[in-house]
């Protein structure tokens, strides 16, 4: 058991190392931070540009392998992931700040969305082909098919209209906080107001995804022999559904759940960009648009860790939920 886990973790470490190194080579050869200095007005002398690039280990006149080595030793010796081109300070500080924003943004959204999705999926499966099933299934399919940013645009337009028509600013859609009132607890209300719409988007998209999965799994479980046996031995329909069908069909959902939680850090990019939350998803875009080699690689490393944590969590979850699975 211990050996198995150790071997697996070692494999993950190697995977991550190779993936991050490849991303570094790619980012360092494709992105071009020099442009940022060359665009400066009044123009900077070429030597100054070269000197500041070299100071940050970003100059494309230094051989790629040499830059890679400097960068790698920085991480191994001092956990320094490199500096951003136009900003002082290490990328890892920036990421530490942004992870907090992302966590505040997605926690309620993902938990609410998954719960809603699982409940809806399981419920509609028991009511297959009834009108409630058809409406919910089609609604989920529709939300699933709309690009997230279109969904956000629609919600923002609706919210603006509501604010204008009623004259009260119920919905806020820019940033994490705004003008705080002077009554007690105002800061909390303010934050919740700003969280409302992004959370709604996350809940809708997650619920659409999970209700589709859960409905299929639940239909398979409901048609299976052990549920029929449970009914045949005299168990009530409700109990057979809850204890036999639902419990079994929740096991594969656990896998998706773990992956969703882990990958949503980078997956909520659109929500963060369009609602002005300065989290990890937004950072991924800013780094590339800002020719930020070190930032992009650090984001990739973070994303890789998320996927591997998700995979491990998924396995643990299945092992915990499913008595048939025991790590051999």
């Amino acid at each position: 058991m211990g050996r198995y886990i150790l071997r697996r973790l070692l494999n993950y470490a190697i995977l991550l190392f190779v993936a991050v190194s490849l991303t570094y080579f790619l980012a360092a050869s494709q992105l071009n931070p020099r442009v940022l200095w060359e665009l400066a007005n009044p123009p900077l002398p070429a030597e100054t540009i070269e000197a500041s690039l070299r100071a940050k280990n970003l100059s494309d006149n230094v051989p790629l392998l040499e830059r890679y080595w400097t960068w790698l030793t920085g991480i191994v010796t001092g956990w320094e992931w490199g500096e951003q081109p136009r900003q002082a300070g290490d990328v890892s500080e920036e990421i530490g700040r942004r992870i907090g924003v992302s966590i505040r943004l997605i926690t309620i959204g993902i938990l609410g969305g998954i719960t809603l999705g699982v409940v809806l999926g399981a419920w509609t499966a028991t009511r297959q082909y009834k009108i409630s099933d058809r409406v919910t299934t089609f609604g989920a399919l529709a939300i699933f098919s709309v690009p997230v940013f279109v969904l956000i645009s629609i919600i923002q337009v609706l919210a603006t209209t509501w604010n204008d028509v009623t004259g009260i600013r119920v919905f806020e859609y820019i940033g994490e906080t705004g003008s705080v009132g002077s009554y007690p607890g105002a800061w909390l209300v303010d934050r919740l107001q700003h969280l409302l719409l992004p959370t709604l988007v996350l809940v809708l998209s997650q619920a659409a995804f999970f209700s589709r999965i859960q409905r299929n799994l639940m239909l398979d479980a409901l048609g299976s022999d052990f549920v029929r046996t449970a009914r045949a031995k005299g168990l009530r329909q409700g109990k057979a559904v809850m204890k036999h069908a639902l419990r079994t069909s929740l096991i594969p959902t656990g896998t998706y759940f773990a992956f969703s939680v882990a990958t949503l850090f980078l997956g909520s990019t659109f929500v963060e960009v369009l609602f002005n939350f300065h989290g990890m998803g937004e950072f991924a875009i800013t780094t590339i648009q800002g020719q930020d080699v070190h930032g992009a690689v650090a984001v990739a490393a973070f994303g890789g860790v998320c996927v591997l944590v998700g995979a491990t969590l998924a396995d643990l979850m299945v092992a915990a939920l499913d008595p048939r699975v025991r790590v051999s």
Binding site: L15, L22, T23, P147, V148, F149, I288, Q289, A296
Partner: protein, 325 residues
């Protein structure tokens, strides 16, 4: 999803005049069975019709318009819809209808090509890995894991946003510049799109390859690639068809996401994603820039997903959601 008999026996309705005889058995082919199950799903049928209509629109829509997508009307900048431009014009005076048609063409093309290629790669790598086993399988699985660990969106964005015009071009830069931009996007989306399906294909192949007919073919000395192409892949074709269909939708959505941030198709060419990217930021003030492309994307992806669901129900013999037989 297991292997199905190619033909299913079904009791036919007893003939009016044939009272007393044994019930007549009518053979229906698998193809007709699948078609019947598919036609029963009204959402999927509507989706299929819509896809055909959109394909028709993409092919012949540009002929309906008096304007080319790259033509600039110097008398109409950012005009709302009128008789001259039925869908209005953009900031630079291009006709929105012509742009939308061009975008639809590009998005359809990207979606179809990515789906075909990534499902093809998934089928070949997944089945060969399972069939041969050993180090080949281990290497394939490791590469799959590696590609899953790298955030694909980031990598595609880095490659397609790189500035290749400079003086010191590498060989890679020149090769990329030779390709039209949408082909680069197809290649990138394919490279990062086949891994999950390959894993499923591998696990299905593992069970199919133990079947008698595969063993028989093997022991008759038929070369491995032929066994895989003739005997294994046709038997997991239902998975491949469903995967390809859903990949079309996935590729179209991925293209819109990349183009939204300017990492996909760039001007002067256009795609639905590029149109939405500029349109979404002005959706409240200039809705005509946003609405046509948004409606078409949603219709297209919704139809493809509906057809995918319908195919899953029709092709999967274990699925109860397709109704009886």
């Amino acid at each position: 999803m297991s292997v199905v008999n190619p033909e299913v026996l079904e009791p036919a309705v007893p003939g009016a005049g044939g009272g007393g005889g044994a019930p007549v058995q009518r053979r229906i082919t698998r193809r007709r069975l699948v078609l019947r199950r598919f036609l029963r799903n009204k959402t999927a049928v509507v989706g299929a019709v819509l896809i055909l209509a959109l394909g028709f629109l993409a092919a012949f829509g540009p002929l309906l318009s008096a304007w080319d997508y790259d033509q600039v009307d110097r008398y109409a900048f950012l005009q709302p819809p009128d008789s001259r431009h039925p869908f209005g014009t953009t900031q630079s005076g291009q006709d929105v209808f012509a742009l939308t048609m061009r975008g639809l063409q590009k998005s359809l093309l990207i979606g179809l090509l990515v789906a075909v290629f990534s499902t093809g790669i998934a089928a070949i790598i997944g089945s060969f890995a399972a069939y041969f086993g050993g180090w080949f399988e281990r290497v394939a699985l490791w590469i799959i894991d590696l590609l899953l660990v790298v955030p694909s969106f980031l990598i595609i964005a880095i490659i397609s946003s790189a500035n290749r015009g400079g003086s010191n071009q590498s060989f890679f830069d020149r090769a990329v510049l030779l390709l039209p931009q949408w082909i680069l996007l197809v290649v990138l989306l394919t490279v990062f799109g086949w891994m999950l399906a390959a894993r499923v294909v591998r696990s299905l192949t593992l069970s199919v390859k133990e079947r008698e007919y595969v063993q028989a073919a093997r022991f008759m000395g038929i070369p491995a690639p032929v066994v895989i192409l003739r005997h294994i892949l046709p038997n997991i074709s239902s998975l491949l068809i469903i995967d390809a269909t859903l990949n079309v939708a996935g590729a179209i959505l991925a293209e819109t996401s990349l183009s939204f941030f300017g990492f996909g198709i760039k001007a002067p060419d256009t795609s639905l994603g590029a149109l939405l990217g500029t349109g979404a930021r002005q959706a409240t003030t200039f809705p005509w820039l946003f609405v046509p492309a948004a409606v078409i994307v949603v219709l297209l992806v919704l139809s493809v997903n509906a057809v995918g669901d319908g195919l899953r129900d029709a092709l999967d013999p274990n699925s109860g959601s397709g109704g009886r037989a």
